[in-house]
């Protein structure tokens, strides 16, 4: 089973890298970009085929290591 964990900064946490990317995009003259926040994606393969079990496992992985819960949020997607 394949899954994806997306880690993003919580709202209100300053993201200097996102700001720099936002500035670069705007400097290209791309119209309509309001703001950019940078995050991380983890594509994970699991040997389980039970979505509920996978969810529990990935939750533990995210909270133990993948995300720093002080400043980051995470989202789990089971890709099947």
């Amino acid at each position: 089973m394949k899954a994806r964990v997306t880690v993003t900064l919580k709202n209100g946490v300053l993201d200097p890298q996102g700001k720099a990317i936002e500035g670069a995009l705007k400097s290209f003259g791309l119209e309509g970009i309001e703001s950019v926040r940078q995050g991380k994606i983890f594509d994970i393969e699991l040997n389980s085929s039970d979505p509920a079990e996978a969810e529990t496992l990935l939750k533990a992985a995210a909270e133990k290591l993948l995300a720093n819960m002080v400043v980051e949020n995470y989202r789990i997607e089971i890709l099947g």
Partner: protein
């Protein structure tokens, strides 16, 4: 004084801090590998040195903070043992939950490597008794992720609890003008509640010889030695 310096894959300042501790205490610190599960019997001080543990992958200090030896460091701290985390060591301490907050990318996005003034916020701790309160010292900084951030509640807890160890400042002691990386309240180092764990971004271990920039860093190691000697 018996000190243990933990080495992670990618640590690179362990030699500097071993030298500083040896100079101050006359005793040779032990080097401990991150896969070890125990600290040597009778360890007074554990040091997490600077460097780039695990190549700063994922987040600085994140993978190192989950190393086997960190459980031993946690129980050492819980028993009141001294723990000093410098630079990457500070990042490991916040990732491990031994100190609150987080160290984000420098506000200017650049890696900063330069001499930096600090204000010693209090002198009545195991780490700073050789300094005077509000003394301005000059040490080195070398980091890309030293921008200390925490929520308002945590900052209030640190400020009210007198747990800010050092603040960045300029030569005149102005903490606002001297802030190199955007840290909240110019925080350069913080203590745990019981003052036995200190995390700091600057490198006092690199300022212990007149030949290479000055000796303002000696006070930290002299303080620790005096504390353990008196105990």
């Amino acid at each position: 004084m018996k000190s243990a310096v933990i080495t992670f894959p990618g640590s690179n300042r362990e030699g500097d801090v071993i030298r500083a501790l040896h100079q101050a205490s006359g005793a040779e610190p032990l080097k401990i590998w991150h896969q070890d599960h125990e600290l040597p019997q009778g360890t007074d001080l554990v040091v997490l040195p600077g460097g780039f543990s695990y190549g700063d992958y994922l987040r600085c200090g994140a993978i190192a903070s989950r190393s086997p030896v960190m459980d031993a460091v946690r129980s050492h701290a819980a028993k009141g043992g001294l723990v000093l985390g410098i630079c990457n060591g500070f990042q490991i301490l916040v990732e491990s939950g031994l100190l609150p907050g987080v160290l984000m990318r420098n506000a200017g996005l650049k890696f900063i490597c330069k001499m930096q003034h600090l204000k010693v916020c209090r002198a009545n701790t195991p780490f700073t008794s050789a300094y005077k309160k509000n003394q301005i010292i000059k040490v080195a900084i070398a980091h890309g992720e030293g921008n200390y951030i925490a929520d308002d509640e945590t900052i209030a807890m640190l400020e009210d609890g007198n747990r800010i160890a050092f603040r960045y400042c300029d030569a005149e002691g102005d903490t606002e003008k001297g802030n190199p990386n955007g840290s909240i309240n110019s925080v350069a180092g913080i203590y745990s509640k019981k003052l036995n764990v200190l995390g700091m971004m600057p490198h006092p271990e690199n300022l212990i010889e007149t030949l290479v920039g000055g000796t303002d860093g000696r006070g930290l190691f002299a303080s620790i030695t005096a504390h353990k000697g008196a105990a």
